[in-house]
């Protein structure tokens, strides 16, 4: 390459950059749910991260004599059955939901990708993996999670595992079906013809082309995981109560719904808003990246 190339490349690059960012802006305008979801999610995540500075009280400090107080200036969201400040707890509690959502999404997706690729590309593994997944799929998610919680002690880790396990088959099936169709893609066939080794094919040709559906699937898993965490807590088999989470808060509050609805309402609203934002992001990504996915996911 000689000197003229970069000289002519520079304006081309900036022009392309400008065109891309223009396209991106247009693209964003075309997908309001995505924007709405992302903004909401950033907001919620920001509040949770900033909890130490926003919270007005120690989220764990009991004040039995001021229990179930309705919202007031001192307690914007009121207090719970033990007199703890709900506003502070709600701010802190987002962390559990976000951690559970994120971890489960990452774990389930990674496990699913490994098993799914094995099933899709290693004929001998296929039968075994898929039978196992069929078995797991046959047990309803929530029941399986509940049962897993029944045999372990409640902790953040066990909750994450219990929520992850039922999600894995979903990813495996997705990955496997993607793998089977990608395997037949001509560019994968071309790679084989070019003498590319299987691991390289998986890494260069198969995985990158799965990213879109996987990212979308992962967002849905994250949303489901947050809801499931709350559900398990609500049913009394979730996170241990000393971890403030929206789920445990609602579980605490469920016995007082008729006398102190705020104790359930505020964590519920925050949870719903978070799950909604993740779902919106997922839907938006799906529609924006690959509209054909809507049937698969």
């Amino acid at each position: 390459m000689t000197s003229p190339a970069p000289a002519s490349a520079a304006p081309a690059a900036t022009e392309r950059h400008a065109r891309r960012s223009a396209r991106r802006r247009r693209w964003m305008r075309k997908h309001p749910p995505l924007i709405l979801g992302a903004v909401l999610l950033v907001l919620v995540a920001g509040l949770s991260l900033a909890a130490p500075w926003i919270a007005t009280h120690d989220p764990q400090a009991l004040d039995p004599l001021a229990r179930l107080a309705p919202p007031s200036a001192a307690h914007p969201f009121g207090t719970d059955a033990l007199g703890r400040d709900l506003f502070s707890r709600v701010m802190w509690g987002g962390r559990a939901s976000l951690v559970v959502g994120l971890t489960v999404a990452v774990l389930a997706t990674s496990a699913g990708v490994l098993l799914g690729l094995a099933a899709g590309f290693v004929r001998r593994a296929d039968g075994l993996v898929m039978r196992l997944m069929d078995g797991l799929m046959a047990i309803p998610d929530i029941l399986l999670a509940i049962a897993l919680m029944a045999v372990t002690r409640a902790s953040l880790t066990t909750v994450i595992v219990a929520i992850t396990v039922p999600q894995v088959p979903r990813v495996v099936r997705l990955v496997r079906s993607l793998a089977l169709s990608l395997r037949e893609q001509q560019y994968v066939e071309a790679a084989r013809a070019l003498g590319t080794r299987l691991p390289v094919i998986l890494w260069r040709h198969v995985l990158p082309n799965m990213v879109t559906p996987l990212v979308v699937q992962a967002t849905f898993i994250a949303a489901t995981a947050m809801l499931t965490e709350a559900l398990l807590s609500f049913l009394g088999v979730g996170l241990p109560p000393q971890i403030p989470s929206w789920g445990t808060m609602m579980a605490d509050g469920r016995n007082f719904v008729a006398v102190a609805f705020h104790a359930v309402l505020f964590p519920g609203l925050f949870l719903a808003a978070t799950v909604l934002s993740v779902n919106l992001v997922g839907d938006g990504l799906r529609d924006a990246l690959d509209p054909r996915l809507s049937r698969q996911l």
Partner: protein
């Protein structure tokens, strides 16, 4: 303007189909796509008009515009009119349009594999069209379906009528499509690349069948294709399209004998012939422009060996329609049989 005048033919009847300066645009987030940008042609009963052009030049959009099957939005009729037996189709209500579709104007599509409903028997699909447009009972409609299948030379039509599309080969499906299209004896049949997806032997069968049926039923046919061979075999007149415009129109014999537009000539030169193993083929450099990238000037100018400054500046009008051989080119008219000097591609030295 050189649009043919809307006058009636000798018998005093309006032409079967008369498209004038049709402009069909798509409003997309990336801007307006002028897929069809001023196309006019006319078709008489019992006539076959071929429309040729490369992929994306607006052949299908023109055809779908006639039946108003394009989704609006994003499609939009930016101008022109489509007169069918004198009535402007663009002015009809959706309900009136529905009475015309499948009844007086029918259409066959390119993909025989996917153009039939996979979950209904073919007999039912044909009968459905019949009951929709004609006041006859289900039994009679079914009878009609069987007759139509027989007409398109499907063996054992009584049994086949009860079968599903997946039980048939591609050629048979295309024949079912034809039966479906002709079930109500339309006056106009639009065939959008009816044989592109088929093998040559099947293609020959289908084209012959269409010719036969035209002779029997007397409909006008608009035959859309990108294969000049098909045009040569079964059309009376041809319209050559490029980038949403009509660039040349002539009778088949005229067109093959003395193509006027440089694009038409280049197209013919670039086709390998069945006559012998050749040396190098003539190439048309560059590629068909994307419709949203069209600027002013002749759309073919960037690829045209004869292009002048004027070509790049102004869009040439379509001239010579009255003589029966029209062309939209500044340089074409006088240049009879002038050899076209084509570019050799720079990178491909022998």
């Amino acid at each position: 303007m050189t649009v043919p005048s809307p006058q009636a033919d000798q018998a005093g009847r309006p032409p079967l189909l008369d498209i004038r300066d049709l402009r069909t645009h798509f409003d997309t987030p990336d801007g307006t796509v002028r897929s069809v940008d001023g196309v006019s042609y006319r078709l008489e009963a019992r006539e076959t008009l071929g429309i040729v052009g490369e992929s994306g030049c607006g052949k299908s959009v023109t055809a779908l515009s006639v039946l108003r099957l394009l989704p609006t939005p994003p499609a939009r009729f930016a101008g022109g009119e489509i007169r069918f037996q004198g009535t402007d189709l663009l002015g009809l209500s959706e309900r009136e349009m529905r009475r015309i579709r499948g009844n007086r104007i029918s259409m066959i599509f390119q993909e025989p594999m996917t153009s039939l409903n996979p979950v209904l028997t073919v007999g039912r699909q044909i009968a459905e069209a019949v009951t929709l447009h004609q006041k006859i009972g289900r039994r009679q409609a079914w009878q009609r379906a069987v007759e139509m299948l027989r007409l398109v030379q499907i063996a054992d039509p009584e049994r086949r009528a009860g079968e599903y599309p997946h039980q048939m080969s591609g050629g048979m499906r295309q024949r079912v499509m034809i039966a479906l299209a002709l079930a109500c004896h339309p006056d106009l049949l639009i065939a959008d690349e009816p044989t592109t997806a088929l093998d040559v032997t099947i293609q020959a069968q289908i084209l012959e069948l269409l010719r036969d049926l035209q002779a029997k039923l007397g409909m006008g046919i608009v035959m859309i294709t990108h294969d000049l061979g098909v045009v040569a075999e079964c059309c009376d007149r041809v319209v050559v399209m490029y980038a949403g415009r009509k660039v040349e129109e002539a009778s088949v014999a005229d067109l093959f004998e003395r193509p006027l537009h440089p694009y038409t000539r280049a197209l013919m030169a670039s086709m390998p012939s069945l006559q012998g193993r050749g040396g190098r083929l003539a190439e048309i450099p560059g590629m068909v422009p994307a419709p949203q990238e069209l600027g002013t000037g002749c759309a073919f100018a960037p690829r045209c060996p004869l292009a002048t400054e004027r070509c790049r500046r102004e869009t040439p009008d379509f001239t010579g329609a009255a003589t029966g051989h029209g062309v939209a080119c500044f340089e074409a008219a006088p240049a009879r049989h002038q050899p076209v000097v084509l570019h050799r591609h720079a990178g491909a030295r022998p």
